[in-house]
Symmetry: C2
Subunit: 335 residues, 2 copies
């Protein structure tokens, strides 16, 4: 039986990994092929190993990959994959967990920055708008220790966020599809469970995948259910939060804080341009989706993805198989 | 035997605490007395409970407190106390430990903000100087997990910083006067020990008291011994670090970062005005000494200080007795 054909569409995969893959498949790299050769190759390809979705795989070109059976994403999420254009027989795997430790650490960085108002204070000292001994009676900063930490989505990132939270002695309230049985974690499911987590928590970290069900999950009602001085951290996807509702909520509640590394979509892609002037608000912190690259630099995401492709090539069940029905049709590129 | 006379020079002590103190002492409050009554009272005072050093206790007025035996500070540090003007028989107690958890949490907030360059990235997105997918090849952010954390001064704050560090699986390198025997902590003493901690650590938190020995401890040589991409966090006292040396070091080493809540002295007082333009540097984060008030708001510092005064009043040995010889003569007011 001939080896299956594997096309790698990114240059982030190291040579050692390519050699290991070559034991199980004939490996091609789109970054070393010219367009005509690539087009000619497409009908023979069984497996795609992608970082974000490659621009050359337009609907037309994708239709030529008629033997395609398996797609592995090196990005954690798969909402960049054009599910609507894929045949039902194609198995798609996310890279959930590969960036978990690094993104969880980033989540804590946003959470602590917001709780201590680091950005606002730094800029206030810089512009001489703050003097020593000016006091808000202890409301300057929020103490997290001993408080309640809500975690929406208790996968790799969510559970890593909880693990770090142990050092802060925070009570963990996890919202997830399946019940979580972990010591020290209170587990909640369903719409009512979500509302309880939001209402009880002093800080909430969003680490959900973006699906049909979770898009704009955090809307005006959910924000309204939260504590007036709560901190909301988003390290998952901007679109999980309703943009206008968040803006109004931040404006009306100065003690409420939102810190994010992820952004809303403009014309089908994540964009730093927002429809509302969030940066005018002192209770908003935004960074340009940088939690991913640092994770990538550890080498773990490539290693995880390659291991999963090998699992498939060896006839084993791969990890992180996604349900296409849950995903929106997008051409979005994200970490 | 008559009760000793206790003068409280701040309004942060609550009524319940004053009532408890009244069982052991005649309690006076300078905030409810006019100047002449206060002056008349001074020769009868045995004990002072101060927040920062009160302005009315000038050298002249202090000399009138001839029976003074005990001073308890509600601030953690005692470098606001005019030791040179005190009789040797006066026992002075700091409030070390009272703010530990809150300040340690703040230290982590600065450490994570610096490691993820939160302030710089936020401002770069705000001013549209950064675009999505611009990449520094994973150098965007520093991963702390699994790295080495140096802690200079392993008292209440230092050990609380280490405790939180467990969640990040960091190896703890503690520099302290006495050896630390704690699981997972490598203990270092002396000048050579300090250099080892500085050279080995990926991040260093300064939580030392400011004394004759520690003033400007972190000078050009010490900075030069550190990793080029290390992160230095100061939540203790600005004067522990040599100001011009730090500025030159930050300018010459863009990957080195300094994050501080504490500032250098100008005319004998902590001041947000610096002699060098630190805020022009992207590897500098500065906040206006706000870690203290939040700790105060928890009520713990007053509780700790009052308990210590009662210990003294009951003839027990108070905690946190300081050695005046170690302290510089200052009129500095700090948390």
């Amino acid at each position: 039986m001939p080896k299956p054909n594997l096309l790698i569409t990114t240059d982030v995969v190291d040579q050692a990994s390519i050699q290991v893959l070559s034991r199980y498949a004939r490996v091609f790299s789109s970054t070393t092929l010219d367009e005509p050769s690539l087009i000619q190759l497409l009908p023979t390809i069984d497996i795609l190993l992608v970082f974000s979705w490659p621009t050359f795989l337009t609907a037309e070109n994708l239709s030529k990959v008629s033997d395609l059976r398996f797609i592995q994403s090196i990005l954690a999420g798969v909402n960049h994959i054009p599910f609507a254009q894929l045949d039902r027989k194609v198995m798609v795997c996310s890279n959930a967990g590969a960036y978990s430790d690094e993104v969880a650490e980033y989540a804590w960085s946003l959470l602590l920055s917001a709780s201590k108002r680091i950005v606002d204070f730094h800029n206030a000292v810089k512009t001489e708008e703050w003097t020593l001994r000016r006091t808000l009676g202890g409301k300057e900063v929020t103490i997290l220790m001993g408080g309640k930490l809500g975690i929406l989505g208790y996968g790799g990132i969510g559970s890593a966020v909880a693990r770090i939270g142990e050092g802060f002695a925070m009570k963990i309230y996890a919202y997830s599809r399946k019940p979580i049985r972990e010591k020290g974690v209170r587990s909640f499911q369903g719409a009512k469970g979500l509302l309880t987590v939001l209402a009880e928590s002093d800080a909430v970290v969003v680490s959900l995948p973006l699906t049909r069900d979770t898009s704009k999950l955090i809307d005006a009602d959910k924000l309204g259910a939260m504590k007036k001085n709560a901190i909301l951290v988003n390290i998952a996807r901007g679109e999980l939060v309703d943009e206008p509702a968040l803006y109004e909520h931040l404006k009306a509640n100065q003690d409420f804080r939102y810190a994010t590394d992820v952004w809303w979509y403009r014309e089908g892609r994540e964009s730093l341009k927002t429809s509302h002037p969030f940066f005018e608000l002192s209770n908003f912190i935004g960074t340009p989706h940088v939690s991913g690259p640092s994770g990538l630099a550890t080498g773990k995401p490539v290693k995880f993805a390659v291991e999963n492709v090998i699992r498939f090539l060896r006839g084993l069940k791969p990890k992180n198989i996604v349900n296409p029905a849950e995903y929106l049709v997008t051409d979005r590129q994200e970490y």
